[in-house]
């Protein structure tokens, strides 16, 4: 546990953990109720979808963890984000979406509800539910989410978990829509479309944008100034608007339409990532330079530690028997730099020697 998390008040963290678990149980029950019978009716098709999507999930987690600059997010935060998206958010979304689409259909008729219901429902319910998980992780594991980059990556992981379960639901439902005469073919076609065509710009990208907004608020210890509040609100609103655009009954009929929508969402997420990454890397380099000065490490060597390759190169220059200790010192220095970059001072930083950072490679 990092110093930051030690200092954070225990009761809100505990409460966040309890709420996280409670909503997770509710989501799991909802998934079981909504999908249990369909899975039992189409066990082979469901198994096929789950096997394919397990590979997608593993690859997606690896890519998104790698995308975080400097170092990957912690295992607990990663697991919490994926689990929230896959179980809590997706299970609750099934309840909320059914209810809200029902409202649109009752108020505007079956045709209106079918055509516009998803675009008027999913952005509201799903983006809010996914972002709520990122907020809970930020409260429960404050050292895991200190700024926009953390929020973006954990948001993307939350969205990825959600996306994989949604893909599984659509794959099994496609068997029903297709008449259940060739289940494996229906599942394969659904997965090709939802993973291969729209996957690159789906929930992971939308939640990455919203998560960056959550990260802006977390960085300000939930007391943001007006500018930061607007930026965070804009990020969440942008995710919702893009989701609405994605689900709207426009650009339909051919594969080109969904591909265009996917490209737009992906480009927006990439732009947010580029901005957040650049700012974060600049701050972490400055913090590493300061940390390097404290241990008489040349500035260039200290700044090089911000990159994975830089750290590997530094370790290669250390005799083999000393590498584990050197790697440990690297981790300590990085942790200290990340706290410094987040505006959290490390105990003993001013007098040195208290943070275990002396002699970093």
């Amino acid at each position: 546990m990092s110093p930051a998390s030690i200092r954070a008040p225990r009761v809100p963290r505990l409460a966040a953990g309890v709420l996280f678990a409670a909503v997770g149980v509710l989501g799991a029950l909802s998934l079981a109720v909504h999908l249990g019978r369909t899975v039992l009716a189409f066990p082979g098709e469901a198994l096929l979808a789950l096997a394919a999507l397990a590979v997608v999930l593993a690859a997606g987690i690896a890519v998104l963890r790698w995308a975080r600059p400097v170092r990957p997010p912690g295992g607990a935060a990663t697991a919490a984000a994926v689990a929230w998206g896959a179980v809590a958010a997706s299970g609750c979304a099934l309840i909320a979406n059914d209810a809200l689409i029902g409202v649109w259909s009752k108020a505007g008729g079956t045709v209106f509800g079918s055509r516009w219901g998803p675009a008027l429902t999913a952005p509201v319910n799903e983006e809010v539910l996914k972002a709520a998980g990122v907020v809970l992780i930020a409260v429960a594991l404050p050292s895991a989410l200190r700024g926009p980059v953390d929020g973006l990556v954990l948001g993307a992981l939350t969205g990825l978990g959600f996306q994989v379960v949604e893909d599984a639901v659509y794959a099994v439902e496609s068997v029903v829509r297709d008449g259940a005469t060739a289940g494996a073919l229906s599942v394969a076609q659904s997965l090709v479309l939802r993973v291969g065509v729209t996957g690159p710009g789906s929930h992971w990208a939308l939640s990455a944008i919203a998560g960056a907004g959550v990260g802006l608020l977390a960085a300000a210890r939930w007391h943001p100034n007006a500018r930061r509040s607007w930026a965070a609100g804009l990020a969440v609103a942008a995710a919702m608007a893009l989701h609405g655009f994605f689900d709207a009954p426009v650009l339909q009929g051919t594969l080109a339409g969904p591909a265009v929508k996917t490209a737009v969402v992906f480009a927006c997420a990439a732009a947010v990532y580029a901005v957040a990454r650049r700012s974060y890397v600049r701050r972490i380099r400055g913090a590493l330079a300061v940390e390097g000065e404290l241990v008489d490490l040349p500035r260039a060597d200290a700044v090089a530690l911000s990159r994975r390759r830089g750290r590997r190169d530094a370790l290669r220059r250390v005799p083999l028997p000393d590498r584990p200790a050197a790697a440990e010192r690297q981790r300590g220095m990085l942790a200290a730099a990340e706290q410094r970059a987040a505006g959290i001072r490390v105990p003993g930083a001013e007098d040195e020697g208290g943070s275990g950072r002396s002699g970093a490679p």
Binding site: R37, I95, S105, G113, V135, V176, G179, A180
Partner: protein, 199 residues
Amino acid sequence: MANGNAASAHVRDPGWTPLGAAAAAVALPLLAWPLAGALLPDAVSVPSGRPVVVGEGGGYEATTRFEPGWTELPAESSEGELLVYRRGRVLLQVRVVRPPQGAPEGAHDLWRGFERITRAWDPSARFGEPSETTGDAGAEGLTGLLEVDGASGTAAVFPSPGGGFAVEFATTADRFASVRDVQAAGRVVDSVAFSEEER
């Protein structure tokens, strides 16, 4: 001094505000939308005497006709996929399925698929042996008994003559349903018609 600043920052933001916001964000859609839905009527009247389009594809359009007394359940229905109707204690589901290219789409294949689909909604569902049937307008398909716990009825499958889609009917009625309502459901099924779409 530095440690004091960090500590005061954390004291200033114990985390209750974001926690409350997250709790509200979860609770609102789970409570508000079902409540709003409960305030709206569940069913709307179905226009009688004129054809209702239930599906289209491959240059053909499928329609059925309803007599007075039928209502549609919009919250249960989805355009082009599933339309749910009710009359008294009789429930009529009209499903449109679209087998993908290369998939079997013969009436007997669709019948077996329809039984599996129905079991996804009610695991107790059992279809009887199908027999050939012809609708009032000449649509050819299969029909047979449908048994579920606490109710019974009929199922029917009508592939489009142009291929690409089929219309499937599932009628269920509990033992208190009136004979008139059950017969009315049969007439809806018999009214299915496929016509070439105007270009």
